[in-house]
Amino acid sequence: MFKKKSMFLVSVLLMMAVAITGCGGGSPAPVQNGSGEEGLSGVIAIAGSTSVHPLTEELTMAFMEQNRDVRIDVSGGGSGAGIESAASGAADIGMSSRALRDNETAGVQVVTIANDGIAMIVHPDNPIEGLELTMEQVYDIYTGVITNWSQVGGDDISMTVVSREEGSGTRGAFEEIVLGKDSPTERMTIQNSTGAVMAAVAADVNAIGYTSTGSLNDTIKVVPVNGAMPTVENINNASYPIFRPFIYILPEGEVGPIAEALVDFILSEEGQAIVAREKFIPIN
């Protein structure tokens, strides 16, 4: 708590500093390179996936604590918007929670900063003792072959299938991994955020859904897939099959010194420790 408060203070001071220098000089403070001693100063903007946003917030806070003259603005908007704004230069770094499509790769380079498991979740009172699903069953649920809990060993109760909206990074990654090129069923209720999916599953004992492992809590129950829970070890040794990369998108060629230092920081041991602390999967 104290840390957050002091961070807030620091960022406010930084904002004021930027405003003052902005007024006085008329040109942004020069970025110092190479001297090492003085460090970096300036402002960069990061935008994109709402799934990557909270993690980025934590990482940039730690980074700004070490580089007090740097300010980083993080905003949401979605993976699509993140990719677009990085390509167009509207943001210095774009965030995406899905791999880029072929028509999106022009003029950009990508860095994977973490992995994120996608957990299958059900209501905590789900009556099936030791419920487990195979990848085939998850495929069948989301293609509409399985519509009743009796088909996975439960009573004759209809299944409420919860999914994310078209275009969501979580849904895109989930469908790519589970469905491949096949179309999902139309018979699923659409919720437009991680929180809304969890609320929908927590509200209905018949429900099943999927969500990022970074945001799990005890209002819902996680179901093992192929016998594995979505833990760090299981994802690293690939025994848990559903996970996706968290990606930073940078312009091709020359990258600004702050963006470069930030990426180096995130990929360092220290940065990856924050990734793990936030319940995401560090990359090696």
């Binding site: 209809s158 909206e165 139309e186 659409i190 509200a203």
Partner: protein, 298 residues
Amino acid sequence: MKKYINRGMEGVFFACASISVVVIVMIAYFVFREGMPIFFEHGVWNMISGRTWNPTREIYGLLPLIYGTFHVTFVALIIGVPLGLATAVFLAEIANDRVARIIRPAIELLAGIPSVVYGLFGMVVINEFMRVIQRDYLGNILPDDYKWGYSILSGGIILAIMILPTIINISEDAIRAVPYKYKEGALGLGATHFQTIFGVILPAARSGIVSAVILGMGRAIGETMALIMVVGNMPIIPDSFLYSIFSPVSTLTATIALEMGYADPTHRSALFAVGMVLFVIIALLNVAGILLNKRAVK
């Protein structure tokens, strides 16, 4: 000098009044400009009659969304219009001041509640209630696809509550505007109070009541947030018409609000096309309202 000030003030007021016209033209222009390309690309009729909405696979069928919007609105009117009319008659003809002093502020409050709060109420109370009905009471009759809790009926109930203030206020005004002579005449001929209400007052107030219904319908078609939380957002047309009110659906407005954040450029254009359809529906509704009103006045 006075004359010039007058002229000037007239000009200022005219400019203010023009802003709404300019805004509507600009909204129409931008929505149509963004939405037209995809209509040309996929064919207007193909899109409007297409039964699958799956933008990530570039299938842009709008029929399920149009269906959902109209079915939910229809249910809302079936519930909301009789309820609203009865309330208006009660307030205008029956209630004494003390009762009206309690009911009227409650209706005002109903109009002021943000739609997301209606949505929360619907999600927690109405959908839970629907689940009990669908699974426990009708569990043996309804197919599995109609047991979600998210349903056209929940959406209709929520919308009916939301359009109540519109319907009550406008039709109460219409009822009060009926000349007192009509009522005196009917009562003088020996009609009972209720015969007077149904035989004389309501028919005489019908133009106002029609406006009330049309305005309520416009509000229902445009409602977004509350519906997102209760109808399930499933772009389908139910297989069985008999059970259809228990089926989840998606609406035009909900689809735009849900999907805009993550949409790639083509998908975005498709959502603007959805906006175009909404725009046309609302425009037609207003025209119908004006025409009906004219006829009713004659």
